[in-house]
């Protein structure tokens, strides 16, 4: 395995940044998230970042095209995409799995989403193993190996004082070859992962939920929800979006931005018909999407056990607890 002292990591990232756009977990204004590497950036490698990496491929707000309309005329202009390859360092296993979920949505089932595909194609992913689960982590319950990131180009390991690197794909090998002089070659044992505080039993749950749409448990589960959408905002897999326009006079930009099934405007139709009128219907939709609909459509759960919603929900609507209630109902 290729190893390097953690203290040398900024030097390594510096070197890579000469060739690629490099994104790293960093603390910015008190929030940890992926950010473009620059000198003196405060890296956040102790635990997983608060904001998931989804915005790298699916920005919170993204310009789609520009237009100009005056009287009867209309011009539509596409926006050129950035061509540079980007290396994303430090993606934890739960978030690697979430990228697989997003790939299913944006790249399969007949249509490819070109905005997503473009950013995804030029991304080289360096997964980073976890040593100690956070209080809110339950990835192993979702069938995820916290020490092996699915779909990684390079797997990095937290070895304590050092970091280990293993090239997996050709693109990953190539990135490592650019900085090969900085590594030592040695056999290193990967530290075992600690105990998990949270667990969830999802065995047979998608099938069980087929008959639970009208179950009274949804009144109970949804009662304390505020429909605030924080869960979806921090969720690495929540991917719903709105398409809207920003208009100034005759000029405008079509944008898309994150949206959430917790809000009224999400499904209300012109004329006022609302198929999901209350919080029971909305909360039910969100959990059924994660635990039944997505597995039916893409054969995988839409939850990776990252625990962000567990931490951030203002009323502690804990998905592991929801899963428990559904299994016991």
């Amino acid at each position: 395995m290729k190893t390097i002292l953690k203290a040398k990591l900024p030097e390594l990232l510096e070197q890579l940044a000469k060739e690629y756009k490099v994104l790293v977990p960093a603390k910015l204004e008190g929030v940890s998230r992926f950010a473009a590497y620059r000198e003196n950036l405060e890296l956040a490698l102790e635990e997983n970042v608060t904001m998931p990496p989804k915005d790298i491929f699916f920005p919170q707000t993204e310009e789609m095209y520009k237009f100009k309309s005056k009287d009867q005329s209309l011009e539509i202009e596409e926006i050129p995409q950035d061509e540079k390859l980007q290396v994303i360092f430090g993606v934890r296993s739960c978030d690697m799995k979430s990228i697989d979920c997003l790939d299913q949505v944006f790249l399969t089932k007949g249509f490819v989403d070109p905005f997503y595909q473009d950013k995804r194609d030029k991304s080289i992913l360096i997964a980073l193993s976890c040593v100690k689960p956070m209080e809110s982590c339950f990835c192993t319950s979702m069938g995820i190996d916290p020490q092996k990131g699915q779909g990684a180009d390079i797997q990095a390991y937290d070895l304590g004082e050092k970091l280990g690197f293993e090239g997996i794909t050709e693109r990953g090998q190539e990135v490592l070859s650019k900085v090969s002089g900085m590594f030592a070659e040695e056999d290193a044992a990967i530290p075992s992962i600690g105990e998990f505080n949270l667990t969830a039993d999802v065995e047979g749950l998608p099938e069980k939920l087929k008959d639970m749409f009208d179950h009274p448990i949804w009144d109970d589960i949804s009662r304390k929800c505020l429909n605030c959408s924080t869960c979806a905002y921090v969720c690495p897999t929540c991917h719903c979006f709105d398409i809207a326009s920003e208009v100034r006079g005759e000029d405008g930009t079509k944008i898309r931005c994150w949206d959430c099934c917790m809000v009224d405007e999400y499904t209300v139709m012109a004329g006022g018909h609302q198929p999901r009128p209350g919080k029971k219907e909305r909360v039910r939709n969100r959990f059924l999407h994660k635990l039944r609909y997505f597995p039916e459509r893409y054969n995988m759960l839409l939850c990776t056990g990252c625990g962000r919603c567990v931490v951030k929900c203002p009323v502690n609507l804990d998905i592991t607890n929801v899963i428990k209630k559904l299994q016991e109902a």
């Binding site: 237009f67 539509i76 249509f111 719903c240 979006f241 079509k254 209300v268 139709m269 012109a270």
Partner: protein, 279 residues
């Protein structure tokens, strides 16, 4: 060359192409049909009956509408004025440049309907999506059996496509058109009453029924059809949900694990029974 579904998958399916409105027909006080062609007078794309298109007036917004018919060089969309966008669209004039993208959705199961007697039931603006199927059957008359259309609206002035109902379609061989309005009014000597009761009264014997209209009409018509012993796969309807992307990504039009924009808007009763009743 018209753009096909396969082409749409190659270009960016979320960015509209520029097109123009070449004709506007006032169908009822609040429904207008818009004929749309590309800037070089071609069909913007080649939709199958029942498919959808996203029409935009970019300064106002974009909305998903069923495509009611296609011609050699244009597609048609009939829009009822209900919200901001449709209000703005009702104010445009011929020559207006618009954005259009599509086609989206599955469309009607044309091959399954071939050779069969069809009953097509519409209510109000619900005739718009099924009109594409009716026009297809008329253009390919020999491919289908007897065609029966039952259509109802609140009043005479709310009947869409009156030229079709009372002129064009009455001349088509092996086709019957029955029109009803909710309440009697002066100058109307046709049938009066609601669609579900009229269907029961007419007791047609088709092999496949396609119905489209307001949820209340569908709700009350289904029992009538079930009394007529249709199998669930021979009852076909279309669903509506709010849509944004049209390609099954943005999430909001889901009913269970189906996306109406991609897996619909056409569903059989057999499929609906497997979906949560959340529409």
């Amino acid at each position: 060359m018209a753009i096909t579904v396969e082409d749409v998958k190659k270009i960016n399916p979320l960015v509209p192409i520029k097109a123009k409105v070449t004709k506007i027909v006032q169908e009822t006080p609040d429904v207008r049909t818009f004929h749309i062609s590309t800037m070089d007078d071609q069909k913007p794309f080649d939709p199958m009956p029942g498919q959808l298109g996203m029409l935009s007036l970019p300064l106002v917004g974009e909305g998903m509408f069923s495509i009611t018919n296609k011609g050699e060089n244009h597609i048609e969309m009939a829009l009822k004025e209900v919200g901001q966008l449709t209000k703005a669209l009702h104010e445009i004039e011929v020559g207006q440049e618009v954005g259009i993208r599509g086609p989206y959705g599955n469309g009607f199961p044309i091959d399954y309907c071939k050779g069969k007697d069809l009953l097509i039931i519409g209510g109000g603006i619900g005739l718009a999506p099924v009109r594409s199927l009716i026009m297809h059957c008329i253009k390919n008359r020999d491919d289908f059996g007897k065609l029966t259309v039952v259509y109802g609206a609140r009043s005479k002035s709310d009947l869409c496509f009156q030229e079709d109902l009372f002129e064009n379609w009455t001349k088509v061989p092996n086709m019957d058109v029955f029109v009803t309005i909710d309440r009697a009014e002066e100058g109307w000597d046709g049938h009066v009453g609601f669609v579900p009761a009229y269907v029961e009264e007419l007791a047609p014997k088709p092999q496949v029924t396609v119905l489209c209209g307001p949820p209340i009409m569908i709700k009350f018509t289904l029992p009538s059809l079930q009394k007529m012993n249709f199998s669930d796969q021979d009852i076909i309807t279309t669903l509506e949900m709010r849509m944004k992307c049209g390609i099954g990504k943005c999430g909001r039009c889901n009913i269970g694990s189906c996306y109406v924009c991609l897996d619909g808007p056409v569903f059989t009763m057999e499929q609906l029974k497997d979906l949560p009743p959340e529409y």
